[in-house]
Amino acid sequence: MKNRFIYTLLGVALLGTSCSDSWLEEDPSDKLAVDGSVQTVTQAQYAIDGVYDQMSDDAYYNGKYIFNFDVMADDMRASETGRLDDYYRYTFYTESSDTEMWSRPYRAMKNVASLLAVIDNVEAEGADAIAARNDIKGQALALRGLIHFDLVKTFGKPYTHGDANTALGVPIVTDLVAFDQKMSRNTVEEVYNQVIADFKAGIDLLSNDANLGHINKAAAQALLARVYLYKGDMANALTYAEEVINNSNVSLMSRDNYVGEWAKDGMSESLFEIVNSSEDNGGLESVGYLSDPDGYGQFVATDPFIAKLQAATYDVRNQMLAKDELDRMGRVMKYPGKANEPSYTSNTRVIRLSEVYLIAAEAALASDAAKAAEYLNAVIERAYPTEDVIDADGTTVLFDHPADVPTVTAATINLARILEERSLELVAEGHRFHDLVRNNLTITRGDDYWGTTYKTIEMTDYKIIQPIPRIELDANPNMVQNPGYES
């Protein structure tokens, strides 16, 4: 190491050009040059983790992509006026929408693009290394599909509402976008085609092995099933859902473990979960902290939802309700925090097997009601005791198995029942709004809705699609706003 005192005293300036030029060459201590920093499989792993890291932000999977949508529907609400007002009351506008919901997914996508630009040149010798590299590339492609899907369901017209070949979706980003490039929006159909192609390409490369915090083949298949469901392509949705149900080696978690599983780092039935921790992106704006009455406590269940679940005494999901900030049983304990850790350390379950069963049921409904009932019953039966429950003195049967299990048959199953089960099973995981919207069903909030307008939301309302934020319109003249937001 040069003694810089002596160096300066002697006068580096007088020591010639090469010397002074090297004196002027400085690199940051806590950052890496983009060129040349991803050359090995290990470095490629760091790069793909950079995508997940962006996805774990509270503007994305650890927050806004969950609770902003949930408070726009009927199962969840804002406890009182505060952080969630704009989405709860639909008071978002071009000027005041959440800019991070637009920019954060693209920030993640840029990390995908920068990895895919070099992944084929990453050194990999031997079968294991090549498999690892392929898996990373598969993750990148599948995540690119998922991110585009998240954007198009947020900012594009719902596919099932028609005009997908003309309605505007979002710009498709496959390569790094130059800083002065002004991308236009692709159609909804083009985006869906890209999403499906990316998932398929990813599935071909991905490993079957479970990989905590990372997407694997089964997860990509499950997410592709969800994409097809949103597209209304029930045949493909069923195909991919069944592929996961039959071949993933993952099974539904048990009733006994149901409540405790939510605190785990790696839920037994989850296919893909994003790891949140206090060390990286866990934060006070996360869904966990917003659910926690010791935190901000503003993300709570609605009165009708609480009533519905409390009426089902032996449904295990009723044990998921805890005291909320309003002293009701309105906290949904899906974000309790990891063991002995704050609430914001809860992992986000991006997709878990229960949802895949529900996708399969919905996808099969029109073509094979018996099969649909079978898949739906798997979720229903799991929620209830597997034998009779008898009261303490042994005389009264409180719960009669299986008679009291509210299973369905091919004759009784319908879309409403499937959506009802989705509501019970997937509450507070960011699904309800999209389930109603893609099925073109009016959103009706209960009597505890405290906003003035938007108690009922018709599917013709322009606000079921989010506005492109002002910062984007200002910086990019090719960007077209969604209808309705001009005035």
Partner: protein
């Protein structure tokens, strides 16, 4: 602790006094021709030697004159220097007043010069203007004293930084602050403090580690001729600070202490009373119930009562909470200083210690400062001189954060905490949070801590060697070390710390700056007519910033360090360096003190730029002509001096970011593994900002008592750096680019007058006024950049507000209205020529509605003295210029912001048809959007402020001499005592960009002090 420091220092000084060599003893008294009074502090030097002394408080001196020497030189600032031959053992001298301004020596870039020969533009503020002002940082005392200088407080937090702009804004988003140079060495002003996000913030400035009483003079270099020698960092002007040096002679001690109280200088964001708060909420609720929900009668009342009971319950005892009383307070200032100076013909010294305790106006803000300094100069031989300045400063702060942040006491007391929220529960315990879940900051402050502990050591040494007559080599080496330890602690029982069961966050930052310069100067007069001064040299600088931070959770009560944290959570840090190499040269030439020309050049290379753009040259040429030296004009006896001058040159600004040209991955963590985020796009063509400066002016002195100057300037900045917003589809939000050009044009005028000079009552006035106009002249693609609440557009000023154009409240229905704006940016008209208004803010396009830049700024300083009494007062003023009350978005919510308290102006609202009201009909929590950003919150900001006032009384010397003291002065100083302004909603001193913030505003102070010399 403080006491023992002081007494140690006294012992040290006493020990320093050497015994002077013996010779012939000459003594006498020096008096003033004007009033016959003795003059203390006159320098008496044996001509041709460095032997000398100064007169004592009674004007007496005595001096050992070596054999063979026979002439004494008497000099004193403001008096004509006299050379008197020694005839006996006693020599009394009467000194004449010198007309002001004649050949004052001023500090300039890399040296000193005579004011008469200076061809550039600069203003000097001397210690007498700085000394009695109770400021925690000297920059605040510059306000109103320097034309062309805008000074605004960033925060009322004691020790926080000050925003200074010289001749307007010279840059977009690159650094807009001037360069500070202390005793010849550029210093860093980058803050090492904290903001709410844990980033570095403006709460701590390294400049606050300097004791203002140690400063001899501050010179502000404004044009290229003055500043270009500082090259790449000079575009925003340069502030050159010189600390005090000792004078040979008897050791003089000075002790001073002052004590005072502080308070907000003006009311800021005044809130409604509790009763009005209830009344306005009920009104908004009732309007909501009737108009929006269709309720009436009992149903409407029931709705109103229900919400009121739920969110705004009137306290059981009827006493609403005044959160201003709870979270803000009167501050206090206590200051102690002791200095000593003296020496002999070989060695002189100045040394000081000081202690300052300032309690801010926010309950949890304070500062404790201890400083020490020793400036030593030793002449080893006639040719070789060593100078060493050592200084130490320690600043400890408890920090009240600014910003839109719940823990900001100013914000919390205005907006977040409502009059209906209680401080205490009925059982007397403190409440935890408000109805809307904001924490009770009274309780939080009692449990938590946010503090900063800075210490700074500076060594600045130089060796000067006279190689030949006129040829001098000077080598300066400086090492500046600033260390800051920040702590944010949340107790496990506090609301903020509960979720993590107690949190400790610590960050240590070390900034180290190494500077070395080696300069040759040659100064020679030929044929008594041609005078040249040539300077050549180089300078090397290395700045290193190192930090280590750690955060821990699960901390038991009573422990505030990470050692006690059961769960280590996050660690971080950096170790970054930037370097600068400069070559510089300058030639000054003058002919018969009549014609002056000067040229300078500097070549800078910086590590902050890529290899292709790394080096740049900066230069200047200038000249002046002293007309009053010409025969054809020197016959005019009324004209004492007249000089015209002009300069042109270039200087630059470096990017703020140390690595802004590189493509970078930042390293985050995911699932306990490194995770790469492509965080910065490469821009290899990123380069310097270059500013081209023209300056022309004249200086005059007439009738022996009026002097002044006028100058015109034009500053054009090219390749302007800006963090340009990008389409978010790129995955990036912004990027540093050189994108445009900007121009500042203006003038400055200064007039000084000795109104009363020859009587016992003396009165000096100085007045300055300046004007500038800022304009963006070019943007790279011609397209405006929207940068809320501004538009950056060609042909407009940088700080141009771009908001919806408020059209008032419709008197018929109380709805908010905005003008419809056509495609050209003008108010649209209907067929009959009337402006079209809309009640839908989304249909109201934005338009240019104001500009933050003032038209005129300046100051008026009056100094009066009568015998021992003196009175100084300084007004500063600003005319023109708007402020946008951005921070009041929710407090002027018209009911749209149910969680916020309200400003008093909300009382002026529409209630019934025909009302001409400032604010629309209230609707509680209903999305009327009437408070959307618009020109409704634009205000004129003209003001006149009594910036400082000092009333002093010096005890007669015959009294103080009896107790062996040389002088005793008592004084009162007030700052910001009076303000006359066109708006009274926020303090008149806002950030230069003109948007209000939630920083703690400017304070006023009342201080009493005493100054004792012995």
């Amino acid at each position: 602790m403080k006491k023992s420091l002081v007494s140690m220092l006294i012992l040290f000084f006493v020990g320093l006094q050497g015994v002077l060599a013996q010779g012939r003893e000459i003594s006498g008294v020096v008096t003033s021709a004007e009033d016959g009074l003795s003059i203390p502090g006159v320098s008496v030097i044996v001509k041709g030697t460095t032997i000398g002394t100064t007169t004592n408080f009674d004007g007496q001196y005595s001096l050992n004159v070596p054999e063979g020497e026979s002439v004494l030189v008497f000099s004193f600032v403001g008096m004509t220097t006299q050379e008197v031959a020694v005839s006996g053992a006693t020599l009394n001298v009467v000194m004449e007043s010198e007309s002001i301004g004649v050949d004052e020596v001023m500090v300039v870039a890399y040296g000193v010069t005579k004011k008469s020969s200076f061809t550039g533009s600069a203003s000097t503020v001397n210690s007498d203007k700085l000394k009695d002002t109770p400021v925690t940082s000297f920059e605040k005392a510059l306000s109103g004293n320097v034309p062309g200088l805008q000074v605004s407080s960033v925060s009322g937090q004691p020790g926080a930084s000050t925003e200074i702009r010289i001749r307007g804004i010279g840059s977009f988003s690159a650094d807009q602050n001037p360069l500070y140079v202390i005793d010849g060495v550029p210093v860093t002003t980058s803050s090492t403090g904290i903001t709410y996000s844990g980033e570095e913030g403006s709460t701590t400035t390294p400049l606050s580690t300097i004791n203002p009483a140690d400063i001899e003079s501050v010179t502000v270099l404004k044009d290229a001729a003055a500043a270009s020698l500082y090259g790449s960092r000079a575009a925003n002007g340069v502030i050159v600070i010189t600390t005090k040096q000792g004078k040979s002679g008897k050791t003089r001690f000075n002790f001073s202490t002052s004590h005072g109280v502080t308070d907000l200088a003006m009311d800021n964001f005044e809130t409604v009373s509790g009763e009005d708060f209830i009344m306005l909420q009920r009104e908004g609720l009732m309007n909501n119930a009737i108009d929006l929900q269709g309720l009436s009668g009992d149903a409407a009342t029931a709705y109103v009562d229900g919400v009121m009971n739920n969110y705004y319950p009137t306290p059981a005892d009827g006493n609403f909470t005044n959160w201003d009383d709870e979270l803000m307070r009167k501050g206090q200032v206590h200051n102690y200083e002791l200095s000593a100076s003296g020496g002999n013909e070989k060695t002189t010294f100045f040394a000081s210690v000081s202690a300052n305790q300032t309690d801010g106006v926010a309950r949890n803000s304070d500062m404790e400062r201890i400083t020490g300094r020793v400036n030593l100069k030793h002449k080893a031989t006639d040719k070789l001189t060593f100078t060493t300045n050592l200084s130490f400063g320690s600043v400890k702060q408890n920090i009240a954060l600014g910003g839109f942040y719940y823990a900001n006491p100013f914000f919390a007391s205005r907006q977040l905490l409502l009059p209906t929220d209680l401080v205490r529960n009925p059982d007397g315990s403190l409440t935890e949070e408000s109805t809307f879940g904001y924490y009770n900051m009274v309780r939080e402050y009692s449990l938590n801590e946010r503090s900063s502990d800075t210490w700074r050591n500076t060594i600045n040494s130089s060796v000067e060697y006279k190689i030949l007559e006129g040829l001098t080599f000077k080598s300066t080496f400086s090492y500046d070390w600033i260390n800051t330890d920040n702590l944010v602690y949340s107790s496990p029982v506090s609301r903020a710390g509960r979720a993590n069961k107690g949190e400790v966050w610590q960050r240590s930052v070390k900034n180290k700056i190494l500077t070395s310069s080696n300069i040759l100067t040659y100064d020679k007069t030929f044929n008594e007519k041609h005078h040249i001064n040539v300077l050549a040299g180089y300078e090397v600088e290395e700045e290193n910033s190192w930090a280590m931070e750690a955060e821990g959770y699960n901390v038991p009560e009573g422990i505030k360090v990470n050692d006690g944290a059961a769960k280590p959570n996050a660690v971080g840090g950096w170790d970054d360096t930037n370097t600068l190499i400069s070559y510089l040269g300058k030639v000054d030439y003058d002919f018969m003190n009549k014609y002056y020309v000067s040229a300078s050049i500097r070549r800078d290379g910086s590590s902050k730029l890529g290899a292709d753009e790394r080096w740049a040259n900066f230069w200047s040429v200038s000249g002046s002509w002293r007309l009053s030296q010409e025969d054809f004009i020197s016959s005019a006896t009324w004209l004492d001096d007249l000089k015209v001058r002009a300069s042109y040159g270039t200087n630059g600004t470096l990017p703020v970011s140390w690595y802004g040209h590189k493509a970078l991955y930042s390293v985050n963590a995911y699932n306990s593994q490194p995770a790469l985020d492509y965080s910065q796009i490469a821009n290899p063509s990123l380069s310097w900002e270059e500013s081209k400066n023209f300056n022309a002016g004249f200086d005059f002195r007439v009738l022996g008592r009026f002097s002044g100057s006028f100058e015109y300037f034009q500053k054009k900045t090219e390749s302007m750096l800006m963090q340009v917003p990008l389409s978010r589809v790129t995955g990036f939000s912004s990027m540093w680019q050189n994108i445009g050009e900007m121009e500042n044009k203006g003038w400055e005028f200064t007039l000084n007058a000795n109104v009363l000079r020859d009587s016992e009552l003396k009165w000096d006035v100085s007045f300055n006024v300046s004007h500038y106009k800022n304009e963006i002249t070019k943007l790279s693609n011609g397209e405006p950049i929207f940068d809320f609440p501004y538009i950056r557009k060609e042909g407009e000023a940088y700080n141009t507000f771009y908001l919806r154009d408020w059209a008032g409240v419709d008197p018929d229905d109380g709805a908010a209205q905005w003008y419809v704006i056509d495609e050209d940016g003008n108010r649209a008209k209907d067929d009959s020529g009337n402006h079209i208004k809309t009640k839908n803010p989304a249909q109201a396009a934005k338009a240019i509605v104001g500009c933050a830049d003032p038209d005129f700024t300046g100051g008026i300083n009056n100094s009066l003295s009568y015998k021992g009494l003196s009175l100084d007062f300084l007004f500063n003023f600003s005319i023109g210029g708007d402020i946008y009350n951005h921070a009041a978005y929710n407090m002027m919510g018209d009911g749209n912001a149910p969680t916020a308290n309200m400003m008093e102006n909300q009382l002026d609202r529409w209630q019934k048809p025909g009302d001409k009201a400032r604010n629309p009909k209230r609707y509680w929590n209903s999305d009327t959007r009437s408070n959307w950003n618009s020109s409704r919150r634009i205000m004129d900001n003209d003001y006149l402020r009594l910036k400082s006032l000092t009333l002093g009384y010096s005890l007669p010397s015959e009294w103080v001499n009896k107790v062996s003291l040389s002088n005793v002065k008592f004084y009162f100083t007030g700052t910001n005592l009076l303000t006359f302004s066109s708006q009274d909603e926020v303090d008149v001193e806002q950030p230069v960009h003109g948007s209000t913030t939630w920083e703690i505003p400017t304070t006023k102070t009342y201080t009493f002090g005493v100054n004792i010399g012995f």
